[in-house]
């Protein structure tokens, strides 16, 4: 089943054409590796999916419905999550609040006063998510800025997975991690796939890409250069697509 369909998407910043007519479809429960040189347009393409950037041309369809003109919050609530390279965490707010950022559950205080953020519920559910991920976080009420890089990564992942996403985009999720933590993220991607959640993985580490992805897509200078199942391509092919030697 097709989950996401991108048709003819173009985007420029000033006089720089970052995306030039990209077509891409993502199947439900698939893991797609997205590779390309710096400035190839990978992150920009992903941000047109999450709604951070609007497109100049083309359409984005998710679950059969057009989402091209929807704001990021609306797309998130339909099941598109992204883990950003810089993690996009609010460093002075605590772990639990970061996981629920933008989606805080509310209740009536004493059954009367509306709009009360249910902090107790946020803490409980955030703790459950952290435990489920097997992440080691000193305290759910610690400001995120206190945590190590790997711990912050766990918080960003927990935020993306708490609200039952259908598609999770990961932008260089392993770049700042130690070897053991990288293995953990790759296991997590396999687990997501088992649960029927589609993943798009951006990474410079081709080993990781070849380990978990069903399919490898290469961008170069804003164009989609190659789109092959893992079994029908090789690391050499991919590298030559990336650098444009093929």
């Amino acid at each position: 089943m097709t989950l996401l369909e991108i048709e003819g998407v173009s985007k420029s910043f000033g006089s720089v054409d970052v995306l030039r007519g990209i077509d891409l479809t993502i199947e439900a429960g698939s893991v797609t590796g997205l590779v390309g040189d710096n400035g190839a347009g990978k992150s920009t393409l992903m941000k047109t999916i999450t709604g951070i950037y609007s497109v100049d041309d083309g359409t984005v369809t998710f679950n059969g419905e057009p989402i091209t003109d929807l704001p990021p919050g609306e797309r998130r609530s339909r099941g598109i999550e992204m883990i950003y390279q810089d993690l996009a965490l609010a460093k002075q707010q605590d772990v639990a609040n970061n996981i629920f950022l933008g989606r805080e559950p509310v209740k009536r205080l004493w059954g009367l006063i509306p709009g009360y953020v249910d902090k107790a519920r946020i803490d409980t559910e955030a703790q459950q998510m952290i435990d489920r991920l097997g992440a080691k976080i000193p305290s759910i009420n610690r400001p995120v800025g206190y945590l190590s890089g790997g711990q912050q990564q766990s918080v960003a992942i927990a935020r993306a997975l708490t609200f039952e996403p259908k598609l999770v985009i990961m932008d260089e999720p392993t770049a700042a991690l130690a070897v053991r933590e990288v293995e953990h993220v790759l296991d997590l991607i396999r687990q997501l796939q088992k649960d029927g959640i589609a993943v798009i993985l951006i990474s410079h580490r081709l080993n990781d890409i070849f380990e978990v992805c069903d399919r490898i897509v290469v961008l170069r200078q804003g164009r989609l250069i190659a789109d092959d199942p893992r079994g029908e391509t090789s690391m050499n092919d991919v590298v030559s697509h990336i650098v444009g030697a093929a």
């Binding site: 996009a88 933008g102 902090k119 800025g145």
Partner: protein, 329 residues
């Protein structure tokens, strides 16, 4: 360690009550220390009537400082607070005295004038993309000028009784503005520390890109914050007008300095991401004690401006010094 991480370290200064409420313990020391010094220096300081005076003076500044707290903790800035106070007090007085409207309408006009000025600030900051520093500095001039134009440069005297009661009434022996201040503080504390609006305000100030990525509508939120800040200036203008029984176009001159200082001493992070109304109330009380004490000691009022300016610079210096020390550890 990054700038943000060190800011996070600072936020663990000390907590009072709910963990969502940060109060810098240093600010309490300053409040009590300063009060002790004043009590020693002047026999009048601790008299009930004088303490009520301090509360009265803190009320106007406190309401303005609440506006400053919201905007600054979202990594914004509102320099127009004092001028908008003056404008709204003139608008309220014109409505009541010149137009002869009933006093509740004058109250509404006061608040609407403040909110409207804040709304304009918000539009210019978020839609035209002009830095908040410039927009609100411009509004500082515009609102003050407009107040002078409307009032022809003279204070408008002779307000209806109902209005004057809001400033001079003393139910249970406590000045009305103190009740207004406490009411506004309770409501705004609830909003900042316990609602999604407050959580998003701090998140935007902490990391705007992250807030946007999680679906928070940053532009719309900022517009609401500036309007809110203007509304606070409107309430402060109402209190000021009712207290002096006049719409004075020069009311609130340089009050933004005192209000921002109160917010910063109270623990609001100058770069956004942290702020609490409880802390700001303590900050406003410190400002009130400082001004009142200097008055009692018969220090010329010019020196008060200098003292407040120095306190602002010192507070920010200490905050950054602490952060650097935390970083070095």
């Amino acid at each position: 360690m990054s700038e943000n991480a060190s800011a996070a370290r600072r936020s663990r200064s000390w907590t009072l009550g709910a963990r969502s409420t940060y109060v810098r313990i240093e600010s309490l020391f300053v409040l009590f220390g300063l009060s002790a010094i004043m009590a020693v220096l002047s026999p009048y300081f601790l008299q009930t009537s004088n303490l009520l005076n301090i509360l009265l003076a803190s009320a106007t500044i406190g309401v303005l400082a609440i506006g400053a707290t919201y905007v600054i903790s979202s990594a914004g800035l509102d320099l127009s607070l004092g001028s908008v106070l003056g404008l709204s007090s003139v608008v309220g007085a014109v409505t009541a005295e010149r137009l002869g409207m009933p006093w509740p309408l004058a109250v509404a006009a006061c608040l609407a004038a403040g909110a409207a000025a804040g709304w304009v600030n918000g539009q210019l900051v978020t839609r035209a993309g002009i830095p908040a520093f410039i927009v609100t500095l411009g509004m500082l001039g515009i609102a003050r000028g407009l107040a002078l134009v409307i009032s022809d440069g003279r204070a408008i005297y002779g307000l209806p009784e109902g209005l004057v009661y809001l400033g001079q009434g003393r139910p249970f022996g406590v000045p009305m503005p103190v009740f207004i201040f406490i009411g506004v503080a309770i409501l705004t504390h609830y909003i900042l520390s316990h609602t999604r609006f407050g959580a998003h305000t701090l998140a935007i100030g902490d990391n705007e890109a992250a807030a946007r990525a999680t679906g928070i509508r940053v532009g719309r939120h900022r517009r609401r914050l500036y309007t809110f800040s203007g509304l606070m200036a409107g309430i402060a203008g109402l209190i000021f007008m009712a207290r002096v029984n006049a719409g004075d176009p020069t009311a609130g001159l340089n009050y933004e300095l005192t209000a921002i200082t109160a917010a910063i001493i109270g623990g609001t992070n100058l770069f956004g991401g942290r702020g609490s109304i409880l802390g700001t109330m303590i900050g406003a009380l410190i400002m009130g004690v400082l001004q009142n004490g200097l008055n009692l000691l018969a220090v010329q009022s010019y020196y008060q401006q200098m003292a407040i300016g120095a306190v602002l610079i010192l507070a920010v210096f200490l905050d950054q010094w602490q952060a650097r020390r935390a970083q070095a550890r």
